[in-house]
Assembly symmetry: C2
Homo-oligomer: 140 residues x 2
């Protein structure tokens, strides 16, 4: 199934309406293999649905985040972007050059977490990991 349809299904399944502006946002997210800011998503969405408002972009992103279909990533410069997330616990590797993003889920932090837990006394219940580097296309 196409990524766009998967996203659409995710929303429909929970009783959300599939409006034109929402579909435009889904199309943009499905097509982009990179992290996108709300502003960029808005710019692209308008090529699919002319009068899509930025507000609707934010609302759709909130919806999809709540469903676990996308995830907010924090860039070093402070601005926030979104990337597709295929459900469940996972992390992203982001290309510092073109922002392309790949998800990975084999985050084997067990040993590390145990060591930190022992050394700090903190009972660790969650973690947050982002990797940065260069994608195959952007290597020198």
């Amino acid at each position: 199934m196409l990524v766009e349809d998967t996203l659409a299904h995710t929303l429909a399944q929970r009783g959300y309406k599939l409006t034109q502006p929402r579909r435009a946002v889904l199309k943009v997210l499905a097509a982009a293999g990179a992290t996108l800011t709300p502003a960029e998503i808005h710019r692209r969405a308008r090529s699919h649905c002319l009068h899509t408002g930025l507000v609707t972009v934010y609302r759709t992103l909130d919806l999809l985040t709540a469903c676990g279909a996308i995830r907010k990533v924090h860039h070093a410069d402070g601005c926030h972007a979104y990337a597709l997330a295929s459900g469940g616990h996972a992390h992203h590797v982001i290309c510092e050059c073109c922002q392309s993003v790949v998800e990975f889920d084999n985050c084997d932090l067990g040993t590390l977490l145990a060591a930190v837990q022992r050394r700090t006394g903190y009972q660790i219940s969650g973690h947050w990991l982002e990797l940065f580097g260069l994608c195959p296309n952007c290597r020198p």
Copy 2:
């Protein structure tokens, strides 16, 4: 040496002046074993130097960040806070209850990074890790 003096020395060494408002910010950072938002730092700093402006708080945080003496942490709710950083590569464990924070530097991600690099083709050059949990004081 006291943490406050270490911070003061860090600034003085680079030719920055040790003004009253700056000292107030250093005192707050040195005393807090937790992550603090700029607004909270501002609030506390005024008990040391009455007319400290929020602008000066931001400027001092920028200075200390550039020196590597503190680090910005990204909270899940989107708002940003600062924590002391003892120089060099390290990460933080943050208590989800009281925001207390402890630094750790034995981040042994070599195996994980190699695996991700092999599976994704990305040449990984940096990472960003935050751990969340409960500190000894906040455990049930």
